[in-house]
């Protein structure tokens, strides 16, 4: 073990931010005076990427490079196919390209779930789940003809944009490409700087203060209490501590992830890139549908645009379902199952997906019922609060499933 390497995991400690801010200063000054220092930006990004994958993590770094080369091959292969004159645009070629783009992620997920079954050459690296969203998205838009040209440099910068590489937010290629070579107007950039600073400090508050209290301070205590009481009562091992765990974990999950996302957005803004926001006050949602428009937004919008809408479009065109309600229900089931599998191949992620699918299906039924009986149902301050309360609890319960704590409680593994 060589301990002389500095290895910096993104946004993990105060030092990281100090180095990051020092590195950003030339970029900020450049953008302020109307210049994008492309070469400096490149070097700066490569250094920070290197710092994620050096030292003990070098194998992950190698994995990343191989993965990127493979993805380039798939994307450019498909792009070449689509740009030939009178491209037949066959469906099976499209499917093949999507499958190839997903294969590495699937292998990694299988490997993680079954560590005993060694798949040679497969090694997970930080960010693979999120990179896959980016490449699949590009393949799909190439199919639609929305992306006709793919500049290699821009594409690489899009994939490896280091502020978001580890866990998103998931940007869109066409949006990114529009911005990454231009300089924002000074007025606009000042607005960006203002927001970037605010997001950075909001992120500190979320991740290092609130997230710390919920995740590092309370959660282990609650876990211990829940385990001990659980063993004492036997049976399903449930106690009020499990309820406490549910709320505490939900808060931790939100503040930790929202804090991280704020950092990623903030650093992007400093670099003059408007990476989309990931959270928009999710806990004031009045129903599950609204919740998914506010929670991990770039992920749910990705699923909405590339799975849900495509599936419904396809199914409607082919008239696979007579009843549009059934169709939307099937599409929800598909979407959330895929999301569950994407999180990992364990029962609780998949149950989490199914839970949300059923929640949103029930929610849709209710919305239809409400629309029909608009005049008879009360709608006021109190019903609004009731809706928020119910939604919040349903969501927290889903996070209890997601946390894997039940697995630990019942089967002793997570």
């Amino acid at each position: 073990m060589n301990t002389n390497f500095i290895n910096l995991q993104p946004y993990s400690n105060p030092h990281y931010f100090v180095y990051l801010m020092i590195g950003l200063i030339p970029i900020i000054i450049g953008l302020y005076w109307g210049h994008r220092l492309k070469i400096y930006e490149l070097v700066f990004s490569l250094i920070f990427l290197f710092l994620i994958f050096d030292g003990e993590k070098w194998q992950q770094g190698v994995s990343l490079i191989i993965y990127i080369l493979f993805q380039l091959l798939v994307t450019y292969g498909y792009l070449y196919y689509r740009r030939r004159k009178n491209s037949p645009n066959r469906t099976w070629v499209f499917y093949l390209a999507v499958i190839l783009a997903i294969v590495p992620l699937v292998l990694v997920k299988v490997q993680t779930a079954f560590p005993q079954a060694k798949i040679p050459g497969v090694l997970a690296f930080l960010g693979i789940s999120y990179l896959t969203f980016k490449t699949v998205q590009v393949v799909m838009e190439v199919r639609d003809g929305a992306i006709k040209e793919l500049n290699l440099g821009t594409y690489l910068r899009f994939l490896l944009f280091f502020p978001t590489i580890s866990s998103g937010p998931i940007d869109r290629y066409r949006r990114f490409a529009k911005e990454c070579d231009t300089v924002p107007k000074r007025d606009q950039y000042l607005n960006d700087l203002e927001l970037a600073t605010r997001y950075l400090f909001q992120g500190f508050l979320y991740k290092f203060v609130l997230g710390w209290f919920f995740g590092t301070y309370w959660l282990p205590r609650i876990t211990r209490a829940a385990m001990i009481t659980g063993t004492a009562v036997g049976g399903l091992k449930l106690s009020w501590w499990v309820v406490a765990y549910m709320y505490c974990y939900s808060m931790y999950l939100f503040f930790d992830f929202a804090g991280y996302s704020l950092f990623a957005v903030s650093i992007s803004y400093f670099m003059g890139i408007h990476t989309p926001m990931n959270f928009n006050k999710p806990f004031i949602s009045q129903n599950i549908k609204e919740f998914w428009n506010r929670w991990h937004m770039t992920l749910s919008f990705w699923f909405r645009d590339y799975i849900y809408m495509r599936f419904t479009f396809f199914a409607m065109k082919k008239k696979l379902f007579k009843n549009p309600v059934r169709l939307s229900q099937a599409a929800y089931l598909l979407l959330f199952l895929v999301m569950g599998f994407w999180h990992g191949l364990t029962w609780y992620y998949i149950v989490y997906g199914l839970f949300h699918a059923f929640a949103i299906i029930i929610n849709d039924c209710w919305l239809r019922f409400k629309k029909k009986h608009k005049d008879k149902l009360p709608s006021n301050k109190y019903t609004k609060w009731l809706a928020i309360f119910v939604t919040f609890n349903v969501v927290c319960f889903s996070f209890l499933i997601f946390s894997g704590f039940l697995s630990q409680l019942w089967f002793g593994w997570q």
Binding site: M1, T3, R186, L190, L193, E194, T197, F201, Y217
Partner: protein
């Protein structure tokens, strides 16, 4: 102009906050702790307290005696030193320092913050032969106990190049947790050089910040065991007598060890020794060897620190649960050889207060579990602690020998022990100096 104002509006508050934070952390703050907080800290065995300075400093000025040890300190049964001191209103209270995995090197570092406060005072060390494995201090455990503050104290407190300083710095450099400028400083000390001017400046400021951090946050996350101590104290007889204590100890131990034949605490047995593990552990410790170890030299660091402070120290060497060692195959003969080396190291340098319990592991209810003192073992400890504390505080002088930092000593298979009945004579000291 307008843009400049906007820039100031955006970054001004950030700059102000950064400056303010720096000022707050670099200012020499004063803080005193309440008696309750110190009492809680003394019994909480948390890492924050172990690594800090101020709580310990205040406590040692106020009648607390450090009990350096490891995991046995957390066996809070009714006969635990903290409970006895509380029940019988002793004029001292133990300050528990150490936990699972804390060995000599961690202790040596931890002691850096309280050299002044312990000058000419007393201390108790429970030295476990289990520490004396081939490689000594476990680096992962060291990471838990490593305190950058105390590392700064160590580096900035060095006045000249000595064998002790070089040895200590070399050992710290073997711990991956030691990083940054501290690591660079250690490298220089290990080579026999002085810190550079910049290193000194940097470390002094780092120390100031860490000291403030210690002041602000050391009362956070204390483990409150006072209620438990009071509860346990109720089980003790109202008037002190060894016989009465022994009776309570046997009675409590009988109640708490009835689930197994090893005399191991039921809870420990249930939680830590399931059937599969038990089967695995059988005869698993036959090859354990505590006689050849770098720990002997790390232990010398502690002794050196005590000598520097002229602290009067009582050393207690605990036994191993004999039924357990018979089961795991750990050799009692080897154990005794290690004990003989420890005792020689102590006696030859003038550390005369040694209570050797190492042969009493077969006595009923002496141990709480596998290797940790409990019940009647604690009673035996108190029989040593009570008269030791009753001695008047006199600065002690010791004869420290660098020989104990040598490979030769680390690897020596055993040493004829110089027991209390057979104190070191001047000749043997002379012979040491020659080496």
């Amino acid at each position: 102009m307008n843009n400049k104002r906007r820039l100031w509006q955006i970054f001004g508050p950030v700059l102000c906050a950064a400056v303010l934070l720096l000022v707050i952390f670099l200012m020499p703050w004063e803080r005193t702790f309440s008696k309750d907080a110190i009492y809680q800290a003394a019994n909480s065995q948390t890492n924050t307290i172990f690594k800090g300075s101020l709580m310990k400093q205040d406590a040692f000025k106020d009648g607390y005696v450090p009990f350096y040890g490891s995991s046995e300190l957390s066996r809070l049964d009714p006969l635990h030193p903290s409970v006895i001191a509380q029940k019988y209103h002793r004029n001292y209270r133990p300050f528990l320092l150490g936990g699972p995995g804390s060995q000599s090197l961690a202790h040596f570092l931890e002691m850096q913050g309280t050299a002044k406060q312990l000058k000419g005072k007393k201390a108790v060390v429970i030295v476990s032969p289990q520490w004396f494995t081939k490689k000594g201090q476990n680096p992962d455990a060291f990471a838990l106990y490593y305190s950058p503050l105390q590392a700064c104290n160590f580096l900035l407190g060095i006045k000249k190049d000595t064998v002790t300083n070089r040895y200590a710095a070399k050992r710290f450099l073997q711990m991956p947790e030691v990083k940054g400028v501290i690591k660079l400083g250690m490298k220089r000390i290990a080579r026999g050089q002085k810190l550079t001017g910049f290193q000194r400046f940097y470390l002094e400021n780092q120390r100031r910040m860490l000291n403030n951090e210690d002041k602000f946050f050391s009362t956070f996350q204390l483990r409150d065991r006072i209620k438990k101590i009071n509860k346990q104290a109720k089980l003790l007889p109202n008037t002190y007598s060894v016989k009465a204590l022994d009776e309570v100890a046997s009675q409590q131990a009988a109640l708490n060890t009835n689930s197994n034949n090893f005399g191991i605490n039921n809870r420990f047995y249930k939680r830590r020794l399931n059937k599969r593990l038990l089967a695995k552990l059988k005869h698993s410790q036959r090859h354990f060897n505590y006689t050849k170890s770098v720990e002997y030299s790390d232990f010398e660091l502690m002794l050196h620190q005590f000598a520097k402070q002229h602290t009067n120290v009582l050393f207690i060497i605990p036994p191993i649960n004999e039924k357990w060692s018979n089961y795991t195959g750990l050799s009692q003969e080897m154990y005794q050889k290690a004990v003989s080396k420890i005792k020689y190291q102590l006696a030859s340098q003038g550390f005369d207060n040694v209570t050797d319990l190492s042969k009493r592991g077969g006595e009923k209810y002496f141990m709480e579990d596998t290797i940790h003192l409990g019940w009647r073992g604690w009673v035996a400890v108190d029989q040593a602690v009570k008269p030791f504390i009753a001695q008047s505080d006199l600065p002690c002088n010791y004869n420290i020998h660098n020989y104990f930092y040598s490979r030769k000593w680390q690897k020596k298979p055993y040493q004829i022990s110089l027991t209390d009945e057979n104190p070191v004579n001047d000749n043997s000291k002379e012979s040491l100096k020659g080496k």
